[in-house]
Amino acid sequence: MGLITEKTPLAKIQPVRFLLNWGRRYSLWVFNFGLACCSIEFIASSTSKNDFIRLGVIPFAHGPRQADLLVVAGTLTDKMAPVLKRLYDQIPDPKYVISFGSCSNCGGPYWDSYSVTKGVDQIVPVDVYVPGCPPRPEALLHGIVKLQEKIRDEDIQEKFRSGTSAVR
């Protein structure tokens, strides 16, 4: 990634950019931030029937420092929120977040709770929201394909400059 800096606009060249984004979008090491039943659907997506490894999503990164993609699956409470922020900060750039399920999208059935964070986008920037309670594995696959389309069209230089991904 050292090639793609402000001073070396190599990634501006169309074929280079295509190749780079093609490589990035099919090798997403995923970190599963499993908090509730959505996590089970995430695991179901990783097993043989749905198998998101065929989309290049490699599950069970050993920790956030090895991951490219964070999937927040489940109910985030206010007490857990600082932990999510900390793990997100540990993921190296460029990084992506999928908010998986109603709870992490907006609080879901706990919309009036005293302890649940009403949406993880209050804590970390979210790229793709997957609705459902819990969403089916197919929904996660769709979310991953949407994210890959987003990465395909991305200008990585722009991404760093705009600061949506860099550590804030």
């Binding site: 206010d78 007490k79 919309w111 009036d112 709770s113 005293y114 302890s115 009403k118």
Partner: protein
């Protein structure tokens, strides 16, 4: 193998030991004793140490909010693995300044249960070894399981479904 006590026998034994201040009733086959707050610790110690009760396991300690007039209730459930019987203790507390003795030194399992009851209902457990919050984040204000605790989301948007009390009136 021990001998389980019936609710009547529990009432008899507790009255013989603690006088008429203890009320015992039979709820679904369990003896439920209502004890005065100043004798709570004493009763718990008796349940644990008396060979006929031998309650060696505290299942839970929890709270009930009965409203401003009737105050709070602390409920503790004891079980004997030897005699295979259950005894539930209830203690009534005033709504203003509810304070009760801690039994965390008698039953270590009550340590966390009392911390949770304290943070959820604002009941103070006198003599607790570590009186800090258990589940809620430290800066949290208020006691969320009290009936008068406001839910901010519901202030903005009222509950769309039926409310428990109203449902009964319609019937």
């Amino acid at each position: 193998m021990g001998r389980p006590l019936s609710a009547d026998e529990v009432a008899e034994r507790l009255r013989a030991r603690f006088g008429e201040g203890v009320e015992v009733e039979d709820q679904h086959g369990h003896a439920v004793a209502t004890v005065p707050v100043d004798r709570y610790r004493e009763v718990v110690r008796f349940l644990r140490d008396d060979p006929a009760f031998a309650c060696d396991f505290c299942d839970f300690t929890g709270g009930v909010d009965l409203g401003p007039e009737r105050g709070f209730e602390v409920v503790s459930h004891f079980y004997s693995t030897e005699h295979v019987h259950n005894v539930r203790l209830k203690v009534r507390l005033p709504h203003e300044e509810p304070v009760i003795d801690s039994i965390a030194d008698l039953f270590p399992t009550c340590n966390w249960h009392e911390r949770e009851t304290a943070e959820m209902f604002g009941i103070r457990f006198e003599g607790h070894p570590l009186p800090v919050k258990l589940l809620l984040p430290e800066p949290f204000e208020g006691f969320p399981l009290r009936k008068d605790f406001p839910l901010m989301s519901r202030e903005a948007k009222p509950w769309p479904g039926a409310v428990e009390g109203e449902e009964e009136e319609e019937e």
